[in-house]
């Protein structure tokens, strides 16, 4: 199919030289570059775009501005796309939504015949009893609920976020917004103009404020040109400000990016939504808002119909009729809801074009072609009272009905900011007040409708913003507009119904009234019971008639009734916009790539990536056993750079360490290390490490991998109170570290270290030394975590990879091999060493986990000392014990329960098969009565089976520590 277009200057957005072929509902069409999907379809006389949610009624465009749900279509990879906003592209394929069969012949349309059996709140009232009935209905209801289908093979697109900062942000680039931007920019401030549509000008771009539209076009051209040539005004088109947050924090979505905009001053010039008139069949394709018809002509050069009727409650409808006539549409009548003539000039203009004017009348019913596919005529009646018509019917054949039932301010952003909506009976309209500081309002959203006054209001709002910034001492003059653009009561119930208040949810006038009759008097309850305003258009067109209907039915004023709460987002936004480009920082040690080159299986440890073991994952147990055995028999090396490192320096360093950790540190000799346990104020063990004394006033203490930041934070917090003369410095990233462990460790070290006496006497167990390794400055400690002769070597992290290479090369004669975290866990388990947070939990005090020896009870204070004293004085309920099982027994997993009869007395914290011990070994919390070596504890393993493990004394391996103290 091909389309014909109106001549220029109609068609501001289209490029007539660029035809685009596309497909909708299985048929091929041709549109133009610049078209939306909907405009291209309407240019091809394709009006039926979707089916309504509840009754599957045929629907066509209503606003042509992305403000309604009538144009939601399905793209191959995206449901619920607004066809009147989505730009047409070559080869685009779109489908309708919410039908059974085909869009044109929808079997679901039969639901419309059942309308009276599906009253408001039907689901709430029907499917909750008898008990269990929901389970029967759920499958059916879920199938019919929802719109469109998600493509589960969809490849996620790149979305991200960006921050932007401006002195003044203006939301809406209509005449008020453009003028406000120009006024603000004269002061030299940075200005951002945010416009939802793809062109500047707002109503100036489609509505004719003068008889022939010439002056309107000139005004738009002048304003746009000035804005575009002003360097300190940034313009964002196709951008939606989706919320207002405190201090003018504005999320603006444009394309795949969410801009997080900060503004010192914000001016909302968001305009007003033209409203529909409520009458029977007001949802037929071919019935649209006056502004939508104007957009179709002005933006897309699409002639919206051949024979039109205009139904209006204001003078704007007269302009629409004149514009339609000028573009070759036969305007059969202008039907004015108002009893009096407001603009003799416009009435005269209609008369000159021989367009009949019917005053104080309304369309009572729209007449449809077969299957409600399109409008074929209207039944016009004289208005006899509020919402009432007389019996005399005038039928006019037409294929287009343009309606304007007044305007509703685009209040959402302002109400999010705390503005108050009040209804004026005189103007039959809502207005906004009580704006927070630094938020301003201008134009039709402020109830100003005459163009000259709209421009003046833009100046006023911008001047007010400049005054706030100290850039103007002018007193902005208040702008008032007395024009009444809303008819008093554009709602005309019909005995046969189908006069829709909310198109999204197929809600009729009687549905709203019935909700109040059932006791839901509050507007918020009416919303939740009837679902009015809960659809995609979020009450843009239903809020005003609903407020009027509820107020009338409950005998209250419209102000008292109000509208429902407006919350962000203003427009539907994708989770991808909220997520953005997800930042997931990770940390790698200096040796990371060496691990990968050696075949390591990496495992996460907080944000760190650590080698678990080296070799294919399918043989995990083999590698763990081999690596552990190698450390026991030869020598291995493990990257321990992820351990936290904190320097404590200054005259009070020893006193500080003495207060932070449970052990005594005042008399720790320089050149010695000491185990350091950190308890919190509740006396719970929360971290441990090794503290080396480098000098009288200098300690270097390690923490667990995951505990570094928390320990550092606690240290600085405590010293904020203690005011000791120390510097606390987190050097975790500044140092790389390895542990060279095994009977041959000293031989390897001797290859590389010349300036330190490595003999057992010169560098004994638990000693600290400084020297160089292959020329690299190093801190060295004799440690015993894995239970073998071991050296922990710390070097500045830039040297970490070189250190690794040196050790692997020097260790070749002794077959040195790397071992991973899982192998280390087995080795330390054999030695009975705990891992804080694996073998401890949120209640573990030092006595429960065998760390009494690491607590100095003679010193006056350490963090948590009082709680430790109290808890250790109480009868102990559980104890961390070692247990063993035969090698062929089911292996308990960490977390498996320890039972005593029917009572849970603890859980397994660590468990692994040990080749060295020839069986399964582990640690678990058990009842104190079961903690004696030789006792048996009962562990429930996978499958519900219970195994009886023998409690043994710790450590499992090398009880006299002979090997680590070599």
């Amino acid at each position: 199919m091909t389309s014909t277009r109106l001549p220029a200057p109609m068609g501001l957005l289209i490029d007539r030289g660029q035809p685009l072929t596309f497909e909708f509902a299985g048929q091929h069409y041709q549109g133009l570059a610049g078209d939306s999907i909907a405009s291209a379809l309407l240019a091809n006389q394709r009006w039926l775009l979707s089916r309504s949610f509840k009754y599957h009624r045929p629907r066509g465009p209503l606003t042509m501005a992305g403000q309604d749900a009538n144009t939601l279509v399905q793209l191959p990879d995206e449901p619920n796309v607004l066809a009147d906003r989505f730009p047409l592209t070559a080869g685009l394929r779109a489908e309708g939504q919410n039908y059974s069969g085909s869009l044109d012949n929808d079997r679901g349309a039969a639901l419309g015949l059942l309308g009276r059996f599906l009253p408001v709140g039907f689901y709430y009232r029907t499917f909750f009893r008898p008990l269990g009935v929901w389970d029967q209905w759920e499958k059916f209801i879920r199938k019919t609920a929802g719109l469109g289908h998600a493509d589960l093979d969809f490849k996620p697109q790149y979305h991200d976020k960006a921050y932007r900062f401006y002195d003044v942000v203006i939301v809406g680039a209509g005449p008020a917004g453009l003028q406000a931007a120009l006024t603000a920019a004269t002061a030299g401030v940075s200005v951002l103009l945010v416009e939802e549509q793809s062109l500047l000008g707002g109503a100036l771009s489609y509505h004719q404020f003068d008889a022939d539209g010439e002056r309107t076009a000139q005004q738009r051209h002048a304003l746009v040109e000035q804005v575009q040539s002003t360097p300190n005004i940034d313009v964002m088109l196709n951008a939606t400000c989706n919320g207002w947050f405190t201090d003018n924090y504005l999320p603006v979505i444009q394309g795949n990016r969410m801009h997080k905009v900060r503004a010192r001053e914000c001016i909302v010039a968001s305009g007003a939504y033209e409203q529909h008139v409520v009458f029977r069949n007001n949802d037929l394709p071919g019935i649209l808002l006056c502004s939508a018809a104007e957009r179709l002509m002005s933006w897309y050069a699409v002639k919206p119909g051949q024979r039109a009727v205009v139904l209006t409650g204001n003078d704007e409808g007269y302009s629409t009729a004149l514009m339609l006539h000028a573009q070759g549409v036969d305007v059969a009548a202008v039907v004015d809801l108002r009893p009096e003539l407001h603009s003799p000039t416009l009435a005269q203009a209609l008369a000159e074009q021989q367009i009949p004017l019917m005053q104080h009348s309304t369309v009572f019913e729209a007449l449809a072609t077969k299957g409600n596919k399109h409008l074929r005529g209207v039944d016009i009646r004289r208005i006899s009272g509020r919402g009432q018509v007389d019996g005399h019917s005038t039928i006019i054949d037409c294929d287009l009905l343009c309606m304007s039932g007044g305007y509703m301010p685009a209040y959402q952003l302002l109400c999010q900011a705390g503005a108050q909506l009040s209804y004026s009976d005189e103007r039959c309209a809502f207005s906004l007040s009580n704006l927070p500081d630094h938020l301003h309002i201008a134009g039709s959203v402020n109830g100003i409708h005459s163009l000259d006054k709209v421009l003046a209001d833009g100046v006023r709002a911008a001047t007010r913003a400049l005054v706030n910034m100290g850039l103007s001492d002018g007193t902005p003059e208040t702008v008032t507009c007395t024009r009444v653009v809303n008819p008093e009561w554009p709602i005309f119930p019909h005995p046969k119904g189908k006069e829709f208040v909310d198109f999204d949810e197929d809600l009729q006038a009687k549905d709203i009234v019935n909700a109040t009759k059932l006791g839901y008097r509050d507007i918020q309850l009416v919303k939740r019971f009837s679902t009015v305003g809960m659809g995609p258009s979020q009450g843009r067109h239903s809020a005003l008639p609903t407020a009027r209907l509820v107020a009338d039915a409950t005998d209250r004023s419209v102000t008292e009734t109000g509208v429902t709460t407006a919350r962000p987002p203003f427009h539907a936004e994708k989770l991808a916009h909220i997520a953005g480009r997800i930042f997931s920082p990770y940390r790698q040690t200096a040796m990371h790539h060496r691990h990968l080159e050696m075949g390591a299986q990496m495992m996460p440890a907080g944000s760190w990536q650590r080698p678990a073991y080296y070799g294919p994952a399918a043989e995990r147990d083999r590698w763990v056993q081999e690596e552990a055995q190698h450390v026991r028999s030869k020598v291995g090396v493990i990257d321990v750079s992820t351990l936290g490192g904190i320097e404590v320096r200054g005259p009070d360093a020893a006193e500080f360490m003495n207060r932070i950790y449970t052990f005594a540190f005042l008399k720790q000799p320089v050149g010695r290390t000491r185990y350091a346990v950190f308890t919190n104020e509740q006396g719970v063990v929360v971290d441990d490490g090794v503290a080396s004394r480098l000098a009288e006033d200098h300690f270097y203490v390690s923490t667990t991998t995951s505990g570094a930041d928390a320990v550092y934070r606690e240290m600085t917090r405590w010293n904020a109170q203690w005011r000791l003369d120390v510097d606390i410095y987190n050097v975790t990233s500044a140092f790389s570290a390895v542990n060279v462990a095994g009977p041959d460790a000293r031989k390897v070290m001797e290859q590389l270290v010349q300036d330190v006496d490595l003999s057992p006497e010169g560098f004994p167990y638990l000693a600290y030394r400084e020297g160089t390794i292959g020329g690299i400055p190093a801190r060295m400690m004799r440690v015993g975590f894995v239970g073998e002769l071991g050296y922990e070597i710390h070097v500045p992290s830039s040297y970490g990879e070189a250190l690794w290479d040196l050790l692997l090369e020097a260790g070749k004669p002794w077959a040195i091999r790397p071992f991973g975290v899982e192998s280390q866990r087995l080795l330390r388990l054999e030695k009975g060493h705990i891992i804080v947070s694996q073998d401890t939990d949120g209640m573990s005090h030092p006595g429960e986990v065998g760390l009494e020896w690491a607590v100095n009870r003679k010193k006056p204070f350490f963090v948590g000392c009082r709680s430790v004293d109290i808890m250790m004085a109480l009868p102990q309920k559980r104890q961390l014990v070692g247990f063993r099982l035969p090698g062929d027994s089911p292996r308990p997993q960490e977390g498996h329960l320890v039972l005593r009869g029917d009572n849970v007395t603890g859980n397994v914290t660590s468990c692994e098969y040990s080749g060295t011990m020839g069986g399964i070994i582990g640690m678990a919390y058990a009842a104190v009565a079961d903690a004696t070596p030789g006792s048996r504890i009962h562990i429930r393993v996978d499958g519900g089976q219970t195994v009886a493990a023998e409690v043994v004394s710790l450590p499992f391996y090398d009880a006299d520590n002979a090997r680590q103290e070599l």
């Binding site: 921050y163 480009r581 930042f583 920082p585 790698q588 200096a590 510097d727 500044a734 992290s797 830039s798």
Partner: protein
């Protein structure tokens, strides 16, 4: 002024290495302060590319720091100009960058275009007196430089601080979060080229490098070596 050696060492010739040297495969390397630094990453890089948008790894360059109540006094004795206030930086006549991170914390960054051995020896260690403690920022932090007119827009995708030229001009410094990693961002000039220096946790250097490159791509930026800073280019 410039002292770049074109002796093309391998990336791993030195024991001290940049945490992201692997990210610059194929680059031509030179020595800087005892470590390899990328001189040239691609054949066509130039100062024009720096204007377009470029990311440079300066991690090899010498840097140190001192903090404590006596730190400013000691640094002043070393004839170093100090920023008057926290969150500011100054560039010395020799192209070194002095950062003031707080009232009592200072970082000294060497000139990436010359050897900084003399400065390193001068600042080898702070005096062993209370109130002046040396800092290991050479190893704890990577040092990247982001150039180009787009640099504020690039940072706007990663960081919540307003870094437009008008509010974050030369000398400004922010300790903030960049792509969810703690970082120090400094606005200054390198050989007359406006840049942001970004100093962040060296263990997250690969992540940070990739996040910056990802943000830079939109503007046609890429990686570059330090020779692109030379006026001849």
């Amino acid at each position: 002024m410039s002292q770049i050696k074109f002796d093309t060492p391998t990336r791993t010739q030195f024991s001290r290495r940049s945490p992201i040297y692997r990210q610059q495969a194929g680059a031509l390397f030179g020595e800087r302060d005892g470590a390899a630094i990328a001189l040239q990453v691609s054949d066509d890089e130039s100062r024009a590319q720096l204007q377009q948008g470029a990311l440079l790894d300066l991690s090899a360059t010498f840097r140190t720091g001192a903090r404590g109540r006596a730190a400013s006094q000691w640094l002043t004795q070393q004839q170093l100009p100090l920023p008057a206030q926290a969150n500011q930086s100054v560039t010395t006549g020799d192209g070194e960058l002095i950062l003031r991170l707080g009232n009592s914390e200072f970082w000294i960054l060497g000139n990436p275009l010359r050897e900084n051995g003399a400065l390193a020896r001068q600042l080898q260690s702070a005096p062993a007196t209370a109130g002046c403690y040396p800092l290991s920022c050479q190893h704890s932090h990577s040092w990247f430089a982001l150039s180009g007119k787009c640099r504020s827009a690039v940072m706007a995708k990663l960081c919540g601080v307003d870094m437009r030229e008008s509010v974050f001009g030369s000398g400004a410094l922010a300790m903030t979060s960049v792509a969810r990693v703690s970082a120090i961002v400094v606005s200054h000039e390198l050989q007359g080229v406006p840049v942001f220096s970004i100093l962040s946790d060296s263990t997250s250097a690969t992540y940070m490098w990739q996040a910056l490159l990802d943000a830079l791509q939109e503007f046609g930026g890429s990686t570059a070596g330090i020779t692109s800073l030379l006026p001849a280019n």
